[in-house]
Amino acid sequence: MNVLLDNWRPLVDGLLTTLWITLVGGVGAIVVGVLVTAARVSPVKVLSGLAFCYVQFFMNVPLLALLVLFVFALPEVGLIMPLLTTAIVVIILYEAAYVAEAVRSGINTVSLGQAEAARAIGLTFLQSLRLVVLPQALRSVVQPVGNVMIALAMNTSLAAAVGVVELTAAAQKVNLVSAQPIQVFVGAGIGYMALALAIGLSTGVVERKVAIVR
C-alpha cells in the first residue's frame, strides 16, 4: 500500500488526465455521434452515405491503430497538435461511431407517427428531428450510450501507448521505479473500476430522470 501513497502525486495526475480524456472525449463523442446520426437518417443521400461510411470506418479500425496513425501521421502532413489533444480527438471520432449506432437504434424506437405529426404541423425535417425525434430517441438510449461511455473510459488507457501519461502510463512509470506491480496495477485498476461504476450509476439516475411518462 505504501508504494501508492509514496507515489500519490504522479498517480493522481495520471488519474486526472484519465478523467479529463473521459469527460471531454465523452461529451465530444456524444455531440459528434448525434450529428452523425442526424446525417445518417437525413433524406439527403450524400449525407446519409457519408455518415454510413464514417461509422463503418471507425468501427472497423482498432483504436490503437487510429491513435498511432494520428499521432505519427498527422505531423507528417503539417497538422501538429499537443499529444493529449490528438489523443482526445481520436477518441472522440472513434467513440462517436458507437454513439451514432446506439442513437440510431433509439430513433428506430420512436414511432413513425411522431415524425408525421411533426411534419403535419409544418416543422421542417431538421426541426422535427431536433424537437421531436431526437429528444425521444436519446431518452431511450441512455443505457447503451452509458455503456459506450464506460468503454470510452477504459479505452483511454490506449493513449498510454502513444505517450500520453494517463493513469495506466503513470502506474507503469511508478512500477518501473518501485518494482511492485501488484500494488501499483491493482491500485490503477481500482481507479478504473471506480470511474466505470460512477458512469454506470449516473446512467441509471439520468435514465430515470428523463423517462417519458407512458
Binding site: 433524406p43 414511432s111 407517427g113 411522431q114 408525421e116 405529426a117 411533426a118 411534419r119 403535419a120 404541423i121 409544418g122 416543422l123 421542417t124 426541426q127 424537437l131 421531436v132 429528444p135 425521444q136 431518452r139 417519458i212 411518462v213 407512458r214
Partner: protein, 258 residues
C-alpha cells in the same frame, strides 16, 4: 363528381380549398388510388366513407403529402402542393391533421404540444402562443390538462389535445384520419362533440371515419370510396337514403344493419 375523367392540364387553380385532380397512388404493385378527384369548398365538410382498404386514409394523407402521389395534382387554396422541403413545410402548416393514433409528442406536456407549432413554425412569441394554447385547450374541454403529459391522459383527452394542436396553426383546412377509431366507445362522443363545434365554426374539413352518425349530421357531402376510387359523392341525406351505386348500398347495408 362520380368518376370524372382526369382534368386536362390546361385547367388552372380553382377557388376550392382542397382540389384533388386525377391522382394515382401505388404502394409497389398495389394501385391504391385510381384517378381520384375531390373538391372541397371553403367551410365545406366532406366525410369520406368506405370499407377498409378502400384508400380513404391514403387519400387523406396525400392531401398534405404525408404520402407521395405518382400522378395527378393537388391544390390547397389554389396553391399546388410543393415537393419535399421548406415550401411543403409552409403549406403543411396551413393544413391541420388529426391522426387515428393521436401522435401527441410523448416527451412534451400537453400545452407544449399545442404551442410548439405556433412558436417554431409561426414564430409567435411564447406568451402569445401560450395564451392561444390555453384558449384552445379550453375550447376542447381539457383546460386543466395543460401541464400533464400525453401518457397521463385518456384516449379521448389525447385526441382532443391533438385537435387543439392542429387548431393552434389556424389551419385553412383540417384533415381527420379516422379520429375516433382508436378510442373506447365511451370516449368517441367527446371527440365528436369537438368536431361538431368545428363544423359550427365553419372549418373546412375532410373527415375519414366510420362514424355514420357524424357523416349524416355534420357532412355537407359524403364521398364513398371503394377499391381506390371515389365511387359516389352525394349530400348525406341522399347518400344514406338512396345510394346510387351497388357497392355503396352493399356497404351501407353492412354498417347500418346492426
Amino acid at each position: 363528381m362520380n368518376r370524372t375523367p382526369p382534368i386536362p392540364d390546361t385547367a388552372g387553380p380553382s377557388p376550392a380549398m382542397v382540389d384533388v385532380r386525377g391522382i394515382n397512388k401505388y404502394f409497389g404493385e398495389n394501385h391504391v388510388l385510381r384517378d381520384v378527384n375531390l373538391t372541397v369548398a371553403p367551410s365545406e365538410v366532406v366525410v369520406v366513407l368506405g370499407p377498409s382498404g378502400s384508400g380513404k386514409s391514403t387519400l387523406c394523407r396525400c392531401i398534405n403529402r404525408l404520402e407521395t402521389i405518382q400522378s395527378g395534382e393537388i391544390y390547397i387554396d389554389g396553391q399546388p402542393l410543393p415537393t419535399e422541403g421548406r415550401a411543403l413545410a409552409r403549406l403543411r402548416s396551413d393544413v391541420g391533421m388529426v391522426f387515428q393514433s393521436f401522435n401527441l409528442f410523448a416527451h412534451r406536456s400537453v400545452i407544449d404540444n399545442v404551442r410548439m407549432g405556433p412558436i417554431k413554425v409561426r414564430k409567435m412569441a411564447k406568451t402569445e402562443a401560450t395564451e392561444l394554447a390555453e384558449s384552445l385547450l379550453d375550447k376542447v374541454g381539457i383546460a386543466d390538462k395543460g401541464n400533464q403529459f400525453p401518457g397521463e391522459l385518456s384516449g379521448g383527452q389525447q385526441q382532443r389535445a391533438a385537435i387543439a394542436r392542429a387548431l393552434a396553426m389556424q389551419p385553412k383546412v383540417l384533415l381527420f384520419d379516422e379520429p375516433t377509431s382508436a378510442l373506447d366507445p365511451e370516449m368517441v362522443s367527446e371527440v365528436l362533440d369537438v368536431m361538431n363545434s368545428l363544423v359550427a365554426d365553419g372549418m373546412t374539413m375532410v373527415v375519414v371515419t366510420h362514424e355514420m352518425g357524424f357523416a349524416r349530421h355534420a357532412a355537407d357531402s359524403v364521398a364513398f370510396m371503394d377499391e381506390g376510387q371515389i365511387v359516389e359523392m352525394a349530400p348525406p341525406g341522399e347518400f344514406f337514403d338512396s345510394a346510387r351505386s351497388d357497392r355503396a348500398r352493399a356497404f351501407l347495408s353492412k354498417v347500418l344493419s346492426h
